[in-house]
């Protein structure tokens, strides 16, 4: 059985690092794993989507509508946009942060209201104020690791394995804050 995880956010939020931590952790567990990410123009502050799939044998690297077991969203509008991809019994973990997209900035459209309510009326939503937790951990940029922590709790992979990968992936000087950030997320 393949487990499908989607990571969505805004270009520049650190979604790629999150997918790498996730990918390396599941690969270390002996699963077949495939990741798909988008580089180039789509990174420039646009919507960013990464797929991570693992299981006995993974073929397609992408995830379709109604297929994701977990969606990890770094921004709440992006969570809303990704909602159709979640499986009926899946779980969405979403950072409550809001970042205005250009059509909102130019006034052409409004940022949708009460997104959290709209999502949770349809699917299983875990909302996290990852920005505050990252600040508390000592590095505002560790939002991605807070969210990885919340997600880790929703997988079968043991706590220590995640810590091992973070130690391998994150640069030494940011390690303390990131380990704290992971714990804040994991123990939410």
């Amino acid at each position: 059985m393949t487990k499908n995880i989607m990571i969505v956010g805004v270009g520049g939020q650190g979604t790629l690092l999150a997918s790498r931590i996730l990918g390396n952790t599941v690969a270390g567990e002996g699963y077949d794993v495939k990741l798909s990410e988008v580089h180039g123009m789509s990174q420039r502050g646009g919507s960013v989507v990464t797929y991570v799939k693992y299981g006995d044998e993974v073929y397609s690297p992408i995830i379709g509508q109604g297929e994701a077991d977990i969606i990890l969203a770094f921004e709440i509008l992006e969570a809303y946009r990704a909602m159709p991809y979640l499986k009926k019994d899946g779980v969405m973990i979403a950072n409550s942060q809001k970042i205005d997209p250009m059509p909102v900035i130019t006034g052409a459209m409004k940022y949708p209201e009460d997104i959290e309510k709209k999502i949770s009326s349809k699917i299983n939503l875990v909302e996290v104020d990852a920005l505050s937790l990252a600040e508390k951990a000592g590095n505002i940029k560790s939002v991605n690791v807070v969210l990885i922590g919340v997600m880790a709790k929703n997988t079968d992979i043991p706590y220590e394995k995640w810590i091992e990968t973070i130690k391998k992936t994150v640069p030494e000087k940011f390690l303390d804050a990131n380990l704290k950030a992971f714990d804040y997320g994991y123990n939410i």
Binding site: V10, G11, G12, G23, N24, A27, D32, V33, K34, L35, S36, E37, V38, H39, G40, M41, S42, Q43, R44, G45, G46, S47, V58, Y59, S60, P61, I62, G64, Q65, G66, E67, L77, E78, Y80, R81, M83, P84, Y85, L86, K87, K88, I99, D100, P101, M102, P103, V104, I105, T106, G107, A108, M109, K110, Y111, P112, K118, K122, I123, I140
Partner: protein, 577 residues
């Protein structure tokens, strides 16, 4: 131990293991990371070339010189490189020679959706197509051997989903490849008519042998699961089909997409009641099947547009819908890519829009100057076209129109193919104004060095092309260097140069805000002097937005570049630490 690896990194690994010693490329999404990963291997000479044609010729030369060599590019890069490619097909190789070309179905980061398989047929070059990272490494390695066995350059065709997906790859030792002896062989390598006529015969004979190879090679793989439905597919489409259809159908997976086999396809079709061809973009395999008289179903059921998905394939073949999912019941704002906070191009386009100029645009981050609210760029065709197309517009519409017309082109793109257009302007008496957006790096593809940065791909200092001297050397007498963030002066310069009755070059100089050497500090804040005129909103900075009727600056996004301070007519924006 298996490692998780990007498709592009796996191609680099394959080249390394095959004993490659020369790689020359021009960056282009989704191919860039191949060459960036090559740099990790000290045994390989790597370069960013000025453009794909040069890159291809460096690789061809290295092959004639007896080394295994490679050149990597995006699909449109192959258009630039096509000239040497068609003739290298005639000369063949000494050391194995591989051209990697990455198509971009869905146009994640491209100006068109061309299917590069047509090049294999047109240039009569053997083409392989891997479907995941594991095959990226294996096929690349094999491509060098095939290249030498058949005396031909080989094209490795990738696509965005293969290049930018990661999968498990097993690493092996590097082959100890000995440089082949150099022997003068003008009959093979001097392509003048007398020699080329004979080489064409060789090419046609070679293709016949390659077809025989296609009938038997393990690259083309059959998996029989059913006598009802068979699927002929290749590349990423195989992975989608396999996930969508599982063991309910049989597969003929083509790892070699040119030349295509005949007998293998006929045998497969005979064994199944119905056969589908599943391939993204053009009906390349399908047309071959139909040409040899096979009754296959292809584009009647499948689109020529964009990327496929397993769901699309399931629907087309079994008419099955995906599981139920939650829907969004309102229109939500899209999040298109934008120029970063602090981007130097923002200032340039702000001025060009203010002056109401027609802007002939080019390929790079600054293509985003076409998007609202700057909405400045009028046309974008391909690398370099900003310069030459503007000359054409001016010749068509006359001098008065030309005074309201500028070209904008990045530093790397100018070197790639803007310089030839500039020479055209001088030679053919154009009066155009060309603005070179010199941000000290190749931006869009993720910060690659180029001939104007003063560093090689390995970050070794080298001679730096001086854009001022270069423009002057081709005959431009009016060359002005100006900082676009000094809005007042920049506007004055643009006005003067467009009004002049001779050609001019403005070098808009300010480095990319994402470069480590750029250190803006603090962030900007709106003060009580604000009269809500919203001039700053015209910049389209992602950090500035309207909340509850008033303008605010998001501290987490602002990098303190200060451009908005220059725009504010009331001095209401201040810098804070």
């Amino acid at each position: 131990m298996k490692k998780i690896m990007l498709g592009n990194a796996a191609v680099a690994r394959g080249a390394y293991e095959a004993g490659v010693t020369v790689v020359a490329s021009y960056p282009g999404t989704p191919s860039t990371e191949i060459t960036e990963n090559i740099v990790k291997y000290d045994e390989i000479y790597a370069e960013w070339s000025p453009n794909e044609k040069v890159a291809g010729e460096v690789a061809i030369g290295a092959s004639i010189g007896g080394a295994r060599a490679m050149s990597c590019m995006k699909h449109v890069g192959l258009n630039v490189m096509a000239d040497p490619v068609f003739t290298a097909s005639y000369t063949g190789v000494s050391g194995g020679l591989v051209f990697c070309v990455a198509d971009d179905p869905g146009m994640h980061s491209s100006q068109n959706e061309q299917d590069s398989r047509h090049y294999a047929k047109a240039a009569k070059l053997l083409m392989l197509e891997p479907s995941d990272s594991k095959e990226c490494k294996e096929f690349t390695k094999l491509a060098f051997k095939i290249s030498e066995d058949f005396d031909t350059p080989v094209i490795l065709r990738l696509s965005t989903r293969v290049s930018h997906s990661q999968g498990l790859v097993e690493e092996n030792e590097r082959e100890n490849y000995e440089l082949k002896d150099y022997q003068k062989n003008s009959a093979k390598y001097v392509m003048m008519p007398g020699n080329a006529i004979k080489r064409h015969v060789v090419v046609e004979e070679r293709t016949k042998k390659e077809i025989e190879f296609a009938e038997t090679t393990d690259l083309n793989n059959i998996e029989i699961n059913s006598d009802k439905i068979g699927v002929i597919t290749s590349g990423i489409s195989y992975m989608y089909a396999k996930e969508a259809l599982g063991n309910r159908v049989s597969y003929l997976k083509l790892g070699m997409v040119y030349p295509l086999p005949e007998k293998l396809l006929k045998d497969f079709c005979e064994k199944h009641e119905k056969v589908y061809v599943i391939e993204e973009l053009d009906p390349f395999i399908e047309e071959h099947c139909k040409a040899i008289g096979l009754d296959v179903i292809g584009k009647e059921k499948f689109t020529m547009l964009g990327e496929y998905t397993p769901a699309l394939i399931k629907k087309a073949i079994f008419n099955e819908e995906p599981d139920e999912f939650a829907t969004i019941d309102e229109q939500i704002p899209a999040r298109p890519p934008v120029m970063c906070a602090g981007c130097p191009h923002r200032a340039t386009f702000y001025v060009l829009k203010k002056l109401g100029l027609v802007v002939s645009g080019d390929i790079g981050c600054y293509t985003l100057g076409a998007a609202a609210p700057l909405s400045s760029v009028d046309s974008t065709i391909c690398m370099g076209a900003s310069v030459s197309a503007a000359l054409g517009m001016a010749k068509a519409r006359g001098n008065e129109f030309n005074k309201k017309l500028v070209s904008v082109i990045g530093d790397s793109t100018f070197i790639h193919s803007g310089i030839t257009g500039l020479i055209d302007i001088v030679y053919n008496k154009g009066n155009n104004t060309v603005i070179i957006l010199d941000n000290s790096i190749t931006g869009m593809t993720g910060h690659q060095d180029n001939p104007t940065t003063g560093y090689t791909i390995r970050k070794e200092p080298t001679k730096q092309v001086d854009l001022v001297l270069l423009a002057k050397a081709v005959g431009i007498e009016r060359v002005v260097v100006a900082d676009p963030f000094d809005l007042k002066n920049f506007e004055k310069v643009v006005k003067e140069e467009t009004e002049a009755d001779e050609p001019s070059v403005i070098i808009a100089q300010r480095p990319c805000a994402l470069l480590k050497t750029v250190k803006y500090t603090g962030h900007c804040k709106i003060g009580s002097e604000c009269r809500n005129c919203k001039m700053c909103m015209k910049l389209g900075c992602p950090a500035i937005s309207v909340k509850d009727g008033g303008v605010i600056i998001d501290e987490t996004q602002c990098n303190g570049c200060g451009l908005c301070i220059n725009v504010c007519p009331f001095g209401a924006i201040h810098k804070e630490d």
